[in-house]
Amino acid sequence: MLLGIDVGGTHTDAVLVGDDGILKSFKTRTDHDNLLGSVTTALAQVTDGIDVKKITNINLSTTLSTNAIVENKLEKTGLFISSGPGIDPGNFTMGDFFFVVPGSIDHRGTETQKIDMKAVKNGLDRCRENGVKVYASVSKFSTRNRDHEEQMAGAAEGQADFVTSGYSLSSSLSFPRRVATAYYNSAVWRIYNSFTDAVVKGITQIGINAPVNILKADGGTMPVAVSRAIPVESILSGPAASIMGIIALCSIDRDSVILDIGGTTTDIAIFASGAPLIEREGIKLGGSPTLVRSLQNRSIGIGGDSVIRVSDGRVTVGPERKGPCMADGGDQPAFLDALNFTGTADFGDTARSADGIKQLAASEKIKPELLAQQALEYAVTAIRRAVDAMLAEINSKPVYTIHEMIEGKKIVPEKLYIIGGPARAVAKAMTGALEITVPEHFEVANAIGAALARTTFETELFTDTGKGVMTMPNLGIEERVDRRYSVEDAKHDALIHMAEFMKKSGYDSSVKPELVEVSAFRIISDYGSSGCDIRVRCQVRPGLIKNLHARGKGGTK
């Protein structure tokens, strides 16, 4: 049996999936002041009367780190950066203990200015005086050469409970993202770990003896032990869990659009030939772009609780939410009330919905039927536009080779999948060229996705044979290589090192890494070859331990 728990912004869901599909599911409102309570309640309810020894895997998706960052409940963190030439590093200030240290590493990973350890020490002294216990050390181009980050991190030993070094988070370039990601990682480290301790304890107490994994924003999982050093990877996993849930419920093999209509927002995801798209850089949180990999996902302010307004005879929906819709006990008519009124939905107290729509219509001197109809049209049009904009953006994504420029594939969706409370109602209104599916069990798709998500991982191997160095930054690997080191060697090493690292760290070792990008450039200096620049990116892509297609098939068309 596989157990999945998703502690979301509004609801906490849990499901237990067995060989024959969903065995049990549970839904409750998330208690934001006691997330642990939400987890333990869900855990207790969904395992009630179940032989917990048969649970073979637990996956947990939680908003804990996300909330801490968004609400700025962050531990004071000493952030040390060495930037070298470029954009004024003052722009990247985060928190009250931010130190720019002289020192520079260039794009090939060559040290061009030694790190000023005296400046590091001065900063550390100030941190110590102020009781700062967690640190982040980030240098520009640390994915090519981690010396400066290690020197700064090493200096904090003794006074630090935890230090994040930028290179350990991702192999991707982007100094500002590395700074933000490392800062957040350290700033949520303590709260995340104490929460995780409690969750793991709770799981053990019920008698479950199965591996625990944490959901990530890319729709994959990481072992709980791994997550302890990279808690930032747990942010914004909720939308990804829903997307993985849809993959579990429906057999998607074509270009498709996925809509998840919630209370406040509609989340849009695009699938290319049945596979979810991954954001090229990383996800944005608290206004800062990060290096945390995520599934591509856009959110617009149209949901069941989005308030209906009339101004100058024009009916609009959202983007604000003024409490729940009237059918759910609110006091202002919202999108779902309009759906109830037109008869496309049948949710909660439909009489209250009708009252709300009629009242608003009367005060604006229009027919209630017209009001409800226009609200519906407005919302559907807004969703359509957002989908079109997202598609246009994906299809005009820049590419860097002639081959991709000429052969590049365009995404043309053929199918539309809708989940979330008002899914069936919106499906009726979204008439158009696309074939629409509303899968069964969609109300717990997020928890299903959580339960069935598989491990993901990504890394990049970077070799400069001129310098004789091969690195895989987020694996912590740095090796000497000779000038004969070839692309084939690099491909081989990347896959082997990645598989070994995953096995050692407790990842599901049955999944196979694949190569994503391979490039090799001869580096010419003064008209002579000075080696080869080889880059190999590999990953374990998002996927499922198993799917529920036999049962989830069909749905409503």
Binding site: P85, H107, K140, P398, Y400
Partner: protein, 439 residues
């Protein structure tokens, strides 16, 4: 997060799968470290900086400007069409108000490509900026355009293309032709009889430094631009004046390039040369991007600046100061062309052109109508070591009635003569771009 004071479009096309030859300076990884630097700096996350995918230029886009012999497909590859398309996308982004200015970081370059094209010269096949300028004129109705070429090599291709065009002001700053390829770009080259003073060459001595370049911009380029009042300013942004460039002898810096760009404030910049792949390009491009976006670039500095850059020698300063007077005179009071025939007559020019990259030798006879109502219909007869005689006839943009009629008359005559392998006919007034193969 950082916000751009002036919105900027970036068209980045490094063509990672294209090179002239494996060890040629114009090879695959030319923009690799530039991309690494821009990504590492987080340039593409800056609010107000938008990356656009290049368009692919069409045959019509090329024929609007060039005479390609025997045809467009024979002298271009996909990479050239994408590189030119990058410039077109930059123009579109600015003309349609998506952004205030745009920078096309594309390769291969184009500024050595002349009006007639038989192959590759100076690493260039088709002229990206000029194709873009003609696109802007045709699609957006602009007329007066200034191209400032800051590549270290004389922009002889662009000069050739606009030699007879009084509406396009071409200013080239470059290392003196007596010391560097292509050997041209002297003070006395100042435009054809219909466009005297609209080609301005500023040949700078080797080792010109920040000081000299900025002086040239302040005291020569800007006063001329101010007087010409162009609707659009284009920068041919070559980066080979850098002190680390392997194939030139100048002494310019990343900070200097940024400052130059800030002063020039072009609507569109298009990358040209620049072959110091590691030591210069990452920093120069970063500096230009920041300057164009109105973001502080004072922290952009080459790692070896303090050891390898040296300020300008006094004799160089003195030399450049002496250039000011003749340069300004070339624009403000150009000497009339004493060879100019009477209005309504043809002016004829003979040219021999060597294509260094492809080893092609071309001979041209160019006839231009001396016209007071437009820039004059043009016919070029061209033969080369790879092509028998070919011809190109162009009725210019904003061409007058007489020159239109002349164009059609010449076309008829040229086709009937069967003297030419192919005749390219360009009627810019009626937007007709066609080819007549006589054999």
């Amino acid at each position: 997060m950082i916000r751009a004071e002036k919105s900027l479009g970036l068209i980045f096309f490094p063509a990672y799968d294209w090179a002239i030859s494996p060890t040629h300076p114009e090879r695959e990884e030319r923009l690799l470290y530039t991309q690494d630097q821009l990504r590492e700096e987080g340039i593409f996350d800056i609010e107000g900086i938008t990356e656009f995918k290049p368009d692919i230029a069409t045959e019509e886009d090329v024929m609007r400007l060039h005479f390609c012999f025997p045809d467009v497909a024979s002298v271009t590859t996909e990479s050239h069409m994408i590189s030119a398309g990058g410039a077109l996308r930059a123009a579109r982004a600015v003309m349609e108000g998506e952004v205030k200015s745009a920078f096309a970081l594309v390769r291969p370059p184009g500024h050595h490509s002349m009006k007639c094209v038989h192959g590759n010269r100076g690493f260039c096949n088709i002229n990206n900026e000029a194709i873009m300028v003609e696109y802007i004129r045709e699609k957006y109705g602009k007329r007066k355009i200034a191209i400032v070429d800051t590549d270290c090599h004389h922009g002889d291709g662009t000069q050739d293309i606009y030699w007879h065009d009084p509406d396009v002001l071409f200013i080239s700053l470059h290392q003196d032709g007596r010391t560097l390829y292509p050997g041209s770009g002297h003070l006395r080259e100042l435009g054809g009889p219909n466009a005297r003073g609209k080609t301005i060459n500023i040949p700078l001595p080797p080792n010109t430094s920040e000081e000299g370049f900025i002086y040239t911009i302040d005291s020569m380029v800007l006063p001329i631009l101010e007087h010409f009042k162009p609707e659009v300013i284009v920068n041919s942004a070559g980066q080979d004046n850098h002190y680390t460039d392997p194939i030139t002898n100048m002494n310019f810096t990343a900070h200097g390039y940024a400052l130059l760009n800030e002063k020039l404030s072009p609507h569109i910049a298009v990358l040209e040369g620049g072959y110091s792949v590691q030591g210069a390009l990452p920093y120069v491009n970063l500096g230009i991007v920041l300057a164009m976006a109105g973001i502080d670039y004072s922290h952009v500095k080459e790692p070896d600046y303090d050891t390898n850059y040296s300020p300008q020698d006094d004799d160089i300063t003195e030399y450049i100061e002496k250039l000011r007077e003749p340069v300004l005179a070339n624009y403000f009071s150009p000497k009339p062309d004493t060879d100019r025939p009477a209005t309504g007559q043809y002016y004829t020019r003979y040219k021999n052109i060597y294509y260094d990259t492809d080893g092609i030798q071309e001979s041209q006879t160019e006839h231009v109508m001396m016209c007071n109502d437009c820039r004059g219909v043009i016919m070029i007869e061209s033969s080369s070591s790879v092509n028998p005689p070919c011809a190109g006839i162009e009725i210019p943009v904003f061409g007058c009635k007489r020159c239109q009629a002349e164009g059609y008359r010449m076309l008829k005559e040229a086709v009937a003569s069967k003297n030419f392998l192919t005749v390219q006919f360009t009627d810019r007034v009626n937007k007709i771009y066609e080819r007549h193969n006589s054999r």
